[in-house]
């Protein structure tokens, strides 16, 4: 066996080019596995840390513990990490301008608390002992007005309870106790996590209880209650602790989800699925390439194996020789591959790190980092080792089964040639001798070239599919974007209504800025209504035809959705004049608002067959997209249900009686994600009535909860199509009807202001400052107008668009990167096959040269051969991948309303790439062979 190992080693050294190509394949495979696992771990690590920063680095919180519970939890709770926070009492500050007063709990925390909760300061520092206090911004402002500043010692009055009697259980004495403590002010807190945690112990309505002050735990503390933030060794163990008799518990579900122990577990599942798929594809590609390399190695060593077998080597020994080669190459490729994989991971981080930070960082500052995880590296090494083993398996068995005499004669391949191999005169004239020889050699080595053809075909297919897929995704995404003609849109936040003066002043300030090149005030509305299909203009019909799931009827009443934008007087006329157009009052479209109601889905046709329902007699069935009327409804609902969050759902549901209904309005509890109410609508004349509906029983309330006025039919005059819409009008995604703002005269509307600017950064800074100042004034209670608060805000369309394009670029980059990696593997495979195939034919080439074949003829022969398999690969892959792309288009394109475009660019690159690759490999190999004199090549056939 030692001799065989030595022989294997010597053969590898002798055939350095083949060994290097195989090594390159193994190295690339290890690198890809390493990159996939390392990037996976790094992404997980980033999401974990970003979530921990945002939601706290703990699995479970015990918000109100007695001392006995606290002690029991710390001794019996099996917590891996525990951070403690003690409530010492409550400060009550009468803030200026507010009718009531704020309640700030003082929390004494331990060192671990700062790890579990990412608390930082905006001024000063965090407390270091139990006499120091870091206060909230609101408390700081209050204390400043009292003449204190950081570094001062202040005597504070603390109360032992909230004024709202939340803690009767813990503090049965109804009399509240006040006491004083001295603290040195050392800092101002700058993070909301603690506050949001505090929110969990109040009723969610006392908005002033959102602040806290921190000190450190001391020996003399007399806590009112204790709070523990804990982590268990197994995240799932927190569910046992919930029932451990510790009272109320709060799970950090976001972090538990990241750990795969959340209630849904969606994140690790999806991440795992993506990486599983990636590893699967890489594994297949790697096994393919490496297996190909070993097959070639076995072919090259066939004579050697034959001779060994003829002198008594067993099959096992010959197989061992192949596995020895695999082991040596794997050992050599492992270290380099791991290093290259880590390098790739760094590259990914450099390219996409900031994008990832933008996607997940919810106000935090967590940076993406490459995590060098030994288990991940071990996994990569293990998988690639398995890939090498799998790859060597078949060739090793083949080597073991080889007939000694066939191997020695090397005649197996030529036996596959058809018996008649004569050169027909026309063939010779057409191809020339080099071409005919190439054809013959291709026929002989067809099997060896099969993997080359397949490698090339897979790479080409991948490139074409990725290219077309990215194009389709880009087109679909761009079609769905709300691209605006404006750079910014300024408006007032909800709650600002009724202050036209404040808003007008704000707009005037913005318009006066030197950065503003163009501005336009506008009001945008989305209206859904029924319309006679035959009255639709051709452009609107085209638009509608592309938006609905069903064919647009030629006649009859249909539901349509219209974007109606009222632009500042003069802006529409100016846009029309730019095109040499004017308003055409002859084209009128009568629209009437109408709503859907419960119906039954019968295939693609909806009919009204709900029996026993109070809505059975509601007028008019509709076709089209039922979800398209919610913009109108949302406004009404917000007005009617202030303080509630709304969840919109246009889905159809099947009730217990088999009837189908459309969830029309659903009101959810604040932040819980659970639905409180489902309403069903009824249209009665010009009134819309909403009845509380129970989907479980299918019953609706007898009396409506809400009634709304639908309004009079609306007549819109359609003008010509505009190429350049005025500012404020979306450029895509909908057909928009544009009218002068004066058409809304008399209505109580809040216009928005669209602006186009010359200096983006400067304007954004200005608008941000306007918003910040307004918020500050609100905080200080000095910015009130009656019962309303004016809050200016803006939408940054340029940034949105850049972000959308960035996301697309990332998807494109990742896809191309992945395709490039597979192409790299394929390149290694092709290079390996072609160069080794040529080396195996050294002797033949030597013989041909010895009878007078010159360099040009040699190149022509080899290039013809390369072109044969290159073209063959293209012939297989191009139609197959185009069919695949078209299938994908048919599947997804029809939904996204995009046109299929031939990927000419990708086709060009693929054809050029394939030919360039085979050309380069051939030229390299032939050049190498031609460096030796013919006799050396002829002599090479033997051990």
């Amino acid at each position: 066996m030692k001799l065989l190992r030595s022989l294997t080693w010597r053969t590898m050294r002798q055939n350095r080019a083949r060994s290097l190509a195989t090594l390159a394949g193994i190295l690339l495979s290890v690198a890809m596995f390493t990159a996939v696992t390392t990037v996976g771990v790094s992404v997980w690590d980033y999401v974990y840390r970003a979530t921990a920063e945002d939601r706290g680095d703990y699995y479970i919180c015990f918000p109100r513990l007695t001392q006995e519970q606290r002690d029991r939890l710390l001794t019996e709770g099996n917590l891996r990490e525990a951070a403690e926070c003690r409530n010492l009492g409550y400060l009550r500050f009468a803030y200026e301008g507010n009718a009531g007063y704020a309640v700030d709990p003082i929390a004494a925390v331990d060192e671990e608390y700062f790890s579990a909760q990412s608390v930082s300061t905006s001024l000063g520092r965090l407390p270091e002992n139990d006499r120091e206090l870091t206060v909230s911004m609101a408390a700081y402002r209050y204390l400043c007005r009292q003449g204190y500043d950081l570094g001062d010692t202040v005597e504070l009055t603390l109360y032992d309870r909230l004024p709202l009697h939340f803690y009767e259980e813990l503090v049965p004495d109804p009399e509240e106790v006040a006491f004083t403590r001295e603290y040195t002010l050392v800092g101002v807190l700058d993070y909301g996590i603690f506050f949001s945690q505090e929110n969990l112990i109040n009723d969610g309505e006392n908005q002033q209880l959102q602040t806290a002050c921190l000190t450190r735990m001391g020996a003399g503390d007399q806590p009112i209650w204790y709070r523990i933030y804990g982590k268990t060794a197994d995240p799932r163990a927190v569910y046992d602790l919930q029932n451990g008799g510790y009272g109320e518990t709060i799970l950090n579900d976001a972090l538990l989800s990241v750990c795969g122990a959340g209630s849904d577990g969606a994140f690790p599942l999806s991440l795992g699925a993506i990486y599983g798929a990636l590893i699967g594809v890489v594994l297949i590609a790697a096994v393919w390439v490496i297996s190909n390399a070993f097959s070639i190695s076995v072919s090259q060593r066939a004579r050697e194996f034959g001779l060994l077998a003829s002198v008594g080597a067993t099959r096992k020994q010959i197989r061992a020789s192949v596995f020895t080669e695999a082991a040596i190459l794997y050992a050599m490729g492992l270290v380099g591959g791991l290093a290259a994989g880590l390098g790739l991971s760094w590259l990914c981080k450099a390219l996409y790190g900031s994008w990832l930070e933008g996607q997940f960082s919810l106000g935090g500052t967590t940076p993406v980092r490459v995590v060098i995880s030994p288990p991940a590296l071990l996994l990569a090494a293990g998988i690639s080792g398995a890939a090498v083993l799998l790859s060597a398996w078949k060739p090793a068995r083949l080597a073991g089964k080889m007939s000694p005499i066939e191997a020695i004669r090397h005649s197996e391949e030529t036996r596959k040639l058809p018996r008649r191999q004569g050169i027909r005169p026309w063939t010779y004239r057409l191809w020339g001798l080099p071409g005919v020889l190439a054809k013959k050699y291709y026929a002989v080595h067809r099997r060896r070239y099969r993997s080359t053809v397949a490698s090339l075909a897979v790479s080409v297919s991948l490139l074409l599919c990725v290219w077309t897929g990215c194009d389709m995704v880009t087109s679909a995404a761009e079609a769905s974007w709300d691209l605006h003609t404006a750079d910014f849109e300024c408006f007032a936040l909800a709650g600002s209504e009724g202050m036209p003066q404040e808003l007008g002043d704000y707009f005037a300030r913005v318009e006066a800025r030197p950065e503003v090149e163009e501005s336009c005030r506008f009001v945008s509305r989305t209206v859904s209504m029924t319309v006679q299909a035959e009255s639709l203009s051709e452009p609107y019909r085209r638009y509608l035809a592309g938006t609905g799931p069903e064919a647009l009827p030629e006649t009859g009443e249909i539901l349509v959705e219209a974007e109606v934008v009222y632009v500042q007087d003069g802006a529409l006329e100016a846009a029309l004049a730019q095109q040499g157009l004017s308003l055409d009052p002859s084209k009128a479209l009568v629209l009437r608002q109408r709503y859907t109601y419960p119906d039954t889905v019968d295939g693609r046709t909806r009919t009204r067959t709900v029996e026993g329902s109070p809505f059975a007699d509601a007028p008019g069935a509709v076709t089209g997209r039922v979800g398209s009327k919610f913009d109108i409804m949302q406004r009404a609902a917000e007005e009617l249900m202030p303080g509630k969050s709304l969840l919109w759902d246009g889905e159809e549901h099947i009730g217990p009686g088999g009837e189908s209904y459309v969830t029309f309005l659903e009101f959810g509890g604040a932040g819980t994600g659970e639905l409180d109410h489902t309403y069903l609508p009824e249209v009665a004349g010009d009134q819309l009535r909403l009845y509380a509906y129970d989907p479980a029983t299918g019953e609706a309330a007898a009396q409506p909860d809400l009634e709304m006025d639908i309004g009079e039919p609306l007549t819109l005059t359609l003008g010509p199509e505009l190429e350049n819409a005025p500012l404020g009008v979306q450029t895509k995604n909908s057909l928009t009807l544009i009218y002068p703002l004066s058409a809304l005269e008399g209505e109580d509307v809040e216009p928005h202001l669209a602006i186009r600017v010359s200096r983006y950064a400067s304007m954004r800074s200005y608008l941000g400052e306007e918003r910040r100042l307004a918020l500050l004034q609100v905080n200080l209670g000095t910015r009130e107008t009656g019962s309303r608060i004016f809050l200016p805000d803006y939408t940054d369309y340029l940034e949105n668009e850049a972000s959308l394009r960035g996301t697309l670029a990332l998807v494109r980059g990742l896809s191309y990167g992945f395709a490039a990696l597979i192409a790299l593997l394929a390149t290694a495979s092709v290079f390996n096959t072609v160069s080794t195939s040529l080396l195996l034919r050294r002797r033949d080439l030597g013989m041909l040269r010895s009878v007078g074949m010159d360099a040009g003829q040699t190149y022509r022969m080899m290039l013809s051969e390369s072109v044969i398999y290159g073209v063959r690969a293209l012939l297989w892959s191009v139609p197959a991948s185009l069919a695949l792309c078209y299938g994908f288009y048919l599947w997804s394109g029809a939904v996204n309303h995009i046109d299929f475009s031939m990927p000419w660019g990708a086709l060009g690159i693929a054809c050029f790439g394939v030919l360039a690759l085979v050309l380069a490999t051939t030229v390299y190999s032939v050049a190498r062979l031609r460096r030796e004199v013919p006799m050396e090549a002829i002599r090479s056939d033997g051990i």
Binding site: G422, R843, G852, M853, M935, E936
Partner: protein, 226 residues
């Protein structure tokens, strides 16, 4: 008249202490139409000499002149043309192209030269070599003697000035050996070609016009056969 002349031909393999000298300053000349036999023990440099004469190997030192022209002063493409037009090389192990059939193997030098195959000459050769009916066979489908005859056909097809044969009967039985030697002699006579044969067989050597004996890469004897 000398058709071939060598001057101080030296061939060394390896370098330094491992260097082996296969040919050591070999100089001789051959007349046009002469039948020269080169004999000598194994490892004496016979094959190396023949391969250098056929321009399929390069000397470390020294020169080869054919018709007064320095063979190795030519570039690689000129050497290729030289090999296909001026030299017919017959190897001990035939060295046929496995993917080409018999007819294609024989006509290969002509096809490489881009010339039209002389059908009459091909037919004559096929008759002479007793390969009739095997035109479309691949080399792997022939016996050793038949393969050697094909390799002779390939060497003679282009009517080269010199035919070089490296132990052409080394792998053949006595009957086949006799036939091959007769064939070569016949060709030598009929086409006036210069024939240089390497052989271990004294009987074949004695049929030559002249015998050169090599030992350790040097000419130790150069005799005319009476």
């Amino acid at each position: 008249m000398d058709i071939l002349r060598t001057e101080n031909l030296t061939k060394r393999y390896g370098q330094g202490d491992n260097a082996v000298t296969a040919l050591d300053r070999v100089s001789f000349s051959v007349e046009k139409g002469e039948f020269l036999a080169i004999v000598g023990p194994s490892g004496s440099g016979k094959s190396t000499l023949l391969h250098i004469l056929g321009a399929v190997d390069r000397p470390t030192e020294g020169k080869v002149f054919l018709n007064g022209q320095d063979v190795f002063a030519q570039n690689e493409d000129q050497l290729a043309i030289f090999r296909r037009r001026q030299v017919g090389l017959i190897y001990q192990f035939y060295n046929l192209i496995p993917v080409l059939n018999i007819r294609e193997n024989i006509t290969l030098p002509v096809l490489l030269d881009g010339r039209k195959v002389n059908r009459r000459r091909l037919e004559d050769l096929m008759d002479l070599l007793d390969l009739r009916g095997r035109d479309d066979h691949l080399p792997s489908q022939l016996s050793g003697g038949q393969q050697q005859r094909v390799s002779i056909g390939r060497a003679l097809m282009n009517a080269p000035a010199i035919v070089l044969a490296d132990e052409p009967t080394g792998n053949l039985d006595s009957k086949n050996s006799r036939q091959i030697v007769e064939l070569l002699k016949d060709s030598n006579r009929r086409f006036g070609q210069t024939l240089i044969v390497i052989t271990h067989d004294p009987a074949i050597a004695l049929q030559a016009d002249r015998i050169i004996t090599l030992e350790d890469g040097r000419i130790v004897k150069d005799d005319k056969v009476q």
